[in-house]
Amino acid sequence: MAKKRLRKFSASMLHWFVLVVFTVLLAFPFYWMVITAFKQNLDLYTVENNPFIFNAKPTLEHLRLLLYETRYVRWLGNTVFVGALVVLITLVLAVPAAYALARLTGRWGQRLGIGIFLTYLVPPTLLFIPLSRVVSALGLQDTLWSLVLVYPSFTVPFSIWLLMGFFKAIPKELEDAAMVDGLTRFGAFVKMVIPISVSGILTVVIFTFTLVTQEFVYALTFISSESNQMVGVGIPIFLVRGDVYFWGSLMAACLITSLPIALLYNIFLDRFIAGFTVGAVK
């Protein structure tokens, strides 16, 4: 009996040990952002100081510098602007398309669905070179509109895929009943299907917005001037002056941008994963 209890105890110790090690390793860079963002420069840049603790009083100087003397707030605004428009375009394109695919039964529906899924696998690093020429031919280089135009190319396919599963779960009888009551097919879609799909649509909104904030390659390629940057490129590239890294402000920017995005993403994560795992999970 005692032996069994000992075994159970050591198993639970091992369990917690593994968990703590992984959590510390994975979350460490964020802890590091916190401590760097509030340290005085003298403390940061003294090699002998223990870097894990505050050797001098914490300071808000890096945050002040970030908010008042860089374009950070402007970049946040740019990101929200592009994000909102991309969400709008994604919804307008993906919601009807997903519904059409969900109700289109038979081989064609399945093939189109798979085709849509495959386009999601095409990475920006394959397309950014031709798109850079397209963008400049349209006169959109160095404008946020170039991103508004291009970002739906990766948000629409995945959103269609997510919503398709969602619409398939809605019984067809619901629309049939609405049509008996005199609505057209499209009317039934707008008045019956969309209202009960709010949570699926919200998932797409959040997913699209987080993807926009995470994108790097297109924003780096199309946008050159400092004031038109998105946060994802502005922070790592434009907060560096020549060779001088303002680590305090940089880490403050990373932290206050990442945490809300991470929180939003985290809430909806299980639904995204359901979309990612295709049919492999039942």
């Binding site: 198993a11 369990h15 593994v18 968990l19 992984f22 390793l25 994975l26 979350a27 860079p29 590091w32 760097t36 840049y45 090699v47 002998e48 307008v92 519904y99 059409a100 695919l101 109700r103 495959l118 386009t119 095409v122 990475p123 690093t125 394959l126 950014f128 070179i129 031709p130 397209v134 291009v150 190319s153 629409v156 269609i160 067809k172 629309e175 049939d176 097919r185 790097f216 390659v217 994802g232 790592p236 680590w247 940089l250 880490m251 920017a253 990373c254 941008t257 990442s258 995005i261 929180l263 993403y265 985290n266 994560l269 994963i273 359901a274 990612f276 795992t277 295709v278 049919g279 999970v281």
Partner: protein, 304 residues
């Protein structure tokens, strides 16, 4: 009434091709114009002499491919892309299998731990990467400080993590793993919930221990979900340029250059769109294989 209802049924969405097409066409058109057309443009440019700032194109045949294949930068980019992808996928699979097993059962504080563990995946990767650049700084690196404190190195005697070829490669692999472990873990957790609880329980009653249950029952039952995680992870690593661009920009001496980062350096920074497009086309064979495997996994899961 009954007649009318039957009539409505027979004109359902599946039988309403005009409306279906009208609802699907805008999205299909957008995807075609912004993914299909650029894809063919990339192929077209690869056989041309397209440059930034020069609007006329000439067909040059295989000239771009000939010069790429001769360049040492390209060879090291191919090698590095493969090394980075393989090494990080192996580490990611081992770590995320372990992590998904310890996270499987509910316990107090699981939500908080899950949020912390997921941070690397859900936060923008460019920002995570710049965080690592600070952690790996040549002078003020916290890793260096700890190693000096442990007397592994003399003060100022530690190597520059991003300044020496092998260490820089290891750093890039580390950051890829750091980012992908959370993603694979969540996918595997989703896969574990699909395993009926009775099966491992029955095995335990029959006297199978923890390890036997794990290796002979749980892991075999999770192969399809593990392959989904590996396939997505492979795409994310193989086609990624953010981590490399921010950490090392391909250096030192092309030792961390990958196909995407070389395509960017050549096509955009070097203005040679044609050569850049040709380099990025080398991603396509890998993508095709992955797409094929992905469809097979999905198909197999549907069949069973």
């Amino acid at each position: 009434m009954a007649v009318r209802r039957a009539k409505v049924k027979s004109t359902g969405a599946a039988q309403d091709p005009a409306l279906g097409t009208a609802m699907f066409a805008p999205a299909a058109l957008y995807i075609m114009l912004l993914i299909g057309v650029p894809f063919f443009l990339a192929m077209y440019y690869a056989f041309s002499d397209a440059r930034i700032g020069n609007t006329d194109l000439h067909f040059v045949g295989l000239e771009n491919f000939r010069s790429i294949l001769q360049s040492p930068s390209f060879r090291s980019a191919v090698k590095n892309s493969i090394v980075f992808t393989l090494a990080s996928q192996i580490i990611v699979i081992i770590c995320s299998t372990i992590l998904s097993i310890v996270l499987e059962n509910k316990f107090r504080g699981r939500g908080v731990i899950r949020y912390l563990i997921l941070l690397p995946w859900v936060a923008p990767i460019a920002l995570g990467a710049i965080g690592w650049k600070w952690i790996l700084d040549s002078i003020y690196s916290v890793i260096t400080w700890v190693l000096v404190w442990l007397h592994v190195f003399k003060p100022y005697g530690a190597p520059m993590w991003l300044g020496e070829p092998h260490l820089a490669m290891a750093s890039v692999i580390l950051v890829h793993c750091w980012r992908l472990i959370p993603f694979s873990t969540v996918i595997m957790l989703a896969g574990q919930t699909a395993i009926p609880k009775e099966i491992p329980e029955a095995a335990a009653i029959d006297g199978a221990g923890f390890w036997r249950t794990l290796f002979q029952i749980k892991i075999p039952m999770m192969t399809s979900i593990i392959s989904v995680a590996v396939l997505f992870g492979t795409i994310f690593t193989f086609t990624d340029m953010t981590v490399v661009y921010i950490l090392t920009a391909g250096g030192p001496y092309d030792s961390t250059q990958t196909l995407p980062s070389l395509a960017f350096a050549t096509g955009i920074q070097g203005s040679d769109l044609a050569a850049g497009a040709a380099i990025s086309l080398f991603l396509v064979p890998v993508l095709v294989v992955i797409a094929y495997l992905m469809l097979r996994v999905a198909h197999r899961a549907e069949a069973t």
